[in-house]
Point group: C2
Chain length 218, copies 2
DNA sequence: TCAATATTCAATTATTCCATTGAATGATGT
DNA sequence: ACATCATTCAATGGAATAATTGAATATTGA
């Protein structure tokens, strides 16, 4: 083990970091963690994993240094260990999108491809602040932990019932958890069917935060 | 397989990309590929792997979309599929350095930690071009495929014998393949012992190229 | 102290991954 | 067509990984 060359030893550790990302369930856990810290139980429930299983995946990621945990009473809260983790995740996404034909297929058939191409950039949204309605379709608790300043929170399931809240004259920009959070795609589809002018925001809140843009809470 | 939700399917593909990075040998192959395209045989030799083994690792990375291959006569040349791969690798490095104590340990004991902290940035080197001697300690063939403009190529093993070529009055900036390429550390140590003023360049040639800076060939 | 709850641990089975070996394929030049 | 060389394939045994189960630990509040 320690008889390897220092470079090989380092590469072994780097590989361990990559390994800790190399599982669909762990990526789902990370997507949740990108929203903010969460307890094991909540993470397990949101990802549909057994608690013990989620716990083991989380521990593995902790050993690799990509998440951190803190205990508070009976609960253990996990969070991303480093801002660079988001960068890694978007790197994986980018490579898969560009170089794996099947990924392109899935995106084209399940996510409206034009919506992702025509997404509003963060910069553009900042410039047009006030002139557009910003719609956050995530659950209320995630909204409370942080959202784009000025955004209205209407979780997707309430959207149909609350259409009256929108000004038909104003363009709507919808966002949710990240690039592949289906919620914002569905919101765009729903609103567009009602005649609203809607576009998606590129990526989601975690990337907004990572870009150093202001985040409102409460 | 295709009965999963589209998001789960995508995450599975992203995980496959991460998996293709998740092995020390594959990272070593990628470090080589970052220098430029290479045949299977050369890659196997430089990484110390059996040819069949190297071939299988390379194929696995190709399936994941992080490398690409082209055939030329009897040879198959592999190359990085995407510039984003370098970004992923540096992300892995960064997370490991910051969050895994053992990595910090290895760096401190084997690589002179001050040398990595005091590395010359690419920007600084560009500004001081002409006022410093730029030393490329990689093998001649890698140098020929691309190097920092104005750099002198003295492979590490020839360094002791060619000390006379340096102007003692000028500061030397040494670089090689990347952040953990031992060559440049050793070059710095050797030259410093002879009284030269030397520092390392941050990272190596692949990162220089990725930053969009000019590269000379021949 | 005891019961309840959140998390982790330990042990099991099934699966996937890895290195090695030797044979097969594909391309070149004679 | 043949010999040669680079690469890939296929099969093997051994190691690591994953999901499940049930038990163990730690913290809280009664």
């Amino acid at each position: 083990m320690s008889s390897r060359s220092p470079k090989t030893a380092l590469f072994g550790h780097f590989a361990a970091v990559a390994k800790s990302l190399a599982h669909a369930h762990r990526l789902e856990l990370l997507e949740q963690l990108a929203q903010g810290e969460r307890s094991v139980e909540v993470l397990a429930e949101r990802t549909g994993l057994a608690v013990a299983n989620a716990s083991q995946h989380l521990q593995r990621m902790r050993r690799a240094g990509i998440v951190a945990s803190r205990r508070e009473g009976k609960f253990v809260f996990y969070a991303l260990a480093d801002d660079a983790v988001l960068g890694l995740l978007s790197g994986l996404r980018r490579i898969a999108e560009r170089n794996i034909a099947e990924v392109d297929q899935v995106i084209r058939s399940y996510f409206n491809h034009r919506d992702s191409l025509e997404a509003v950039s963060r910069k553009e949204l900042m410039q047009r602040a006030g002139a557009v309605t910003i719609l956050d379709v995530r659950p209320a608790d995630e909204f409370a932990l942080g959202h784009v300043p000025g955004a209205v929170n209407i979780p997707l399931r309430e959207l149909e019932a609350r259409l009256a809240e929108f000004d038909p004259a104003q363009e709507i920009v919808a966002y949710c958890r990240g690039a592949y959070c289906v919620l914002s795609y569905e919101a765009v589809a729903t609103l567009r069917a009602r005649g609203f002018k809607v576009r998606r925001l590129e990526d989601g809140l975690p990337e907004w935060r990572a870009a150093g843009l202001p985040v409102a809470t409460g």
